[in-house]
Symmetry: C2
Subunit: 304 residues, 2 copies
C-alpha cells in the first residue's frame, strides 16, 4: 500500500497547557506532505519529527484563530532561510490574507520563493485542491469565525497485476502499466486474455477528514460517509457541554456521535482544552459511544 499517514504536531487548544501545542498536522500521501493548520511552534515540531520541508507544497488553514495559524510566519521564514525556491500554497479563509500579506511584506522581502494565497469559501463543501494523488475538499464548520474542515480523498487506485498470470501467459513486465490501465492481453495465437484474469482489484481509496473547531453539526456526516479516519475536535468533556456550546466547540461524546453518524472506521480526538485533567477519562467518554477512538498526541503518526 502507498503511504497515507497523519502526523500530529500539535493537538492542544489556545492556551498553552498540559504540555500540548496548538493545532498542526501533516498529512503524508505517497511521499507528498500537506500541512493542516499551523499553530505556534509548528516549525520546531516539524524539525523534531524530521519530515523534510521540501516535500511540503500546500498548507490548509481552518480558520483565523491564532492557535491555528501563528506558526505560519516562523515556518515560512525558516523555509526561506533553508533556501527553498519552490512555491508554497496557503489555502485559508479570506480573513487570514491581511495577516499573511503583512508577514510577507515585513519579514520575507528577500525570500527566494513565493507564497501564494488561495481563498477558501468556508460556507461551501467544495473541491479546494487536487493533484495526482488526492483531492482536498472543504467542510463547512460552525465556529465563532468563518471556519472549515478539510477532507482528504485519495484518488482511485489502479488494480494490482497478478505476477503469476504474467508468468503463465509469458507477458513482458513492460506491459504492466497498460494492463493496470485495463488493457486485455492478446496471445501470439490471437487468443485474448481478459484483463480481469491478469489483475486483482485495486485497494480501496482512503480518506481522512479534519474537523477543526466546531459546534456538533450532525449534517456534516453526509460528506464524511465511511471516512477511514475522522479527526474531530473534542475540546471539552460532557461536564463542560454548555461551555462547548458557548464557545463553538464539541465534547468528546459529540465527536464520537459524529463518528457513529458518518460510519467512520476510526476516530481521532484532539484540540484538548487545558481544563481536561485526565485524558484517559476523556477517551473513555468517546469510546463509550464509538469504540474505535484514539487520542491525538504530539509526535504520533496514524497510518491509514
Amino acid at each position: 500500500m502507498e503511504t497515507f499517514n497523519v502526523h500530529i504536531l500539535g493537538c492542544g487548544s489556545a492556551k498553552p497547557s498540559n504540555g500540548h501545542l496548538p493545532s498542526c498536522q501533516v498529512v503524508e500521501v505517497r511521499g507528498k506532505l500537506y500541512m493542516v493548520d499551523c499553530g505556534e511552534g509548528a516549525q520546531m515540531q516539524w524539525s523534531r519529527v524530521g519530515l523534510g520541508m521540501t516535500r511540503l507544497g500546500h498548507i490548509f488553514i481552518s480558520h483565523s484563530h491564532g492557535d491555528h495559524c501563528f506558526g505560519l510566519p516562523g515556518l515560512i521564514s525558516t523555509m526561506g532561510l533553508l533556501g527553498r525556491t519552490a512555491e508554497l500554497h496557503v489555502h485559508a479563509p479570506a480573513d487570514l490574507r491581511p495577516f499573511l500579506d503583512c508577514v510577507l511584506a515585513t519579514f520575507c522581502k528577500d525570500m527566494g520563493y513565493r507564497v501564494l494565497f488561495h481563498e477558501v469559501d468556508t460556507s461551501q463543501h467544495a473541491l479546494v485542491f487536487e493533484d495526482r494523488s488526492i483531492e482536498v475538499w472543504s467542510l463547512p464548520l460552525r465556529h465563532r469565525v468563518p471556519c472549515c474542515g478539510y477532507l482528504f480523498r485519495e484518488k482511485p487506485l489502479l488494480p494490482h497485476i497478478r505476477p503469476e498470470m504474467f508468468a503463465c501467459y509469458d507477458i513482458p513486465l513492460s506491459q504492466a502499466n497498460n494492463i493496470k490501465m485495463g488493457m486485455d492481453w492478446t496471445m501470439p495465437d490471437g487468443e485474448v486474455i481478459p484483463n480481469a484474469r491478469l489483475t486483482r482489484p485495486a485497494d480501496a481509496a482512503r480518506s481522512y477528514a479534519y474537523c477543526s473547531d466546531t459546534l456538533f453539526t450532525p449534517s456534516l456526516s453526509s460528506w464524511l460517509a465511511g471516512v477511514d479516519l475522522l479527526y474531530h475536535e473534542a475540546t471539552f468533556g460532557e461536564d463542560y457541554l454548555l461551555r462547548a456550546k458557548q464557545t463553538g466547540h464539541s465534547t468528546a461524546r459529540q465527536a464520537a456521535e459524529m463518528a457513529v453518524l458518518c460510519h467512520a472506521k476510526r476516530l481521532l480526538v484532539g484540540h484538548f482544552s487545558g481544563r481536561i485533567k485526565d485524558e484517559t477519562a476523556h477517551l473513555r467518554e468517546a469510546t463509550d459511544v464509538f469504540p474505535e477512538t484514539l487520542l491525538a498526541s504530539e509526535g504520533k503518526t496514524f497510518e491509514l
Copy 2:
C-alpha cells in the same frame, strides 16, 4: 538583596536546531517582569517557567527579525484569553509597528486590554523606559536591519538601617524610611546623631545588558562599563568568523572580548547557530579570553 534575575526562555538563532528556541528572556527586578525579545514559542516557555503573566508590563524587542518577535501574536492573544485588563507596552524599532498593528486588528479585536507601541530609535543610546526600580537604555547595534540592545540599570538603592543603633538611641522603627532617606536623628536632649552612624551604605545598583544580534562593535563598551552581567550574542565560533561578519553576527571570542573591554563582571553567551555542534568548545573559546563566561540555556535563571 532585592530580586534581579534573568530568565532565559530561548537562546537559539533563526533555524530551529540543537533543541534551542529563538530569543526570549525575562528580566525580573523587585517582583516586576520585563520581557526582552519574544521569539516563537515564548508563551509556551513562559508557561513552563511559571512566572505568572500579570507581573509583565513591558516587552522590549531588539529588531524585526522573526526569531526575535514571532512569539508576540501568541503571547498577546493568550494574555487576552486569560482575562488581562492591564495595558501592555511594546518597545521596538519602528519597522515592527505594521506587524503588531495587523496582529491586533486581525486577532485581538475583542481583547480586554490595550497594547501600546513605543518606537525605539535604534541609532541612539537613550533612556527608553523607567519606573521606580529601573531604567532601560537602548544600545545601538550593527545588524542587517535596525537593531538595538537594552541596558537595564537598577536605580540607586537606599542605605540599610543599623538596627543595633536604632536600639541604642531608642529610635522608633517608624523613622526607618526617613533615616534611609538621609535624615539625622535628634535625641530628646537635643544631641544630633548623624545619619552615617545609623546606616550602612546601600548595595551597589546592578545592571544587565542584552546585546542581541550584532557585529562585534568595540565602541559599545563605553556604555557597558562595569556591567554586572553582559549577555552578548555568540552566534558562531571563530571557525565561522567570515560568516559572522557577512551576516552581522559575532563569535564567542568576540563576545568575550567585549566583556573584557567593558570590564563586565560576568558574560552570558547565546543566540547559538545550528552550526555549533559542541557548546562546551564554544564556551571554551570565550573563557580563554574572559573566564567568567556562562552559556545561556532554556529554563536557566541567572541571579545578579
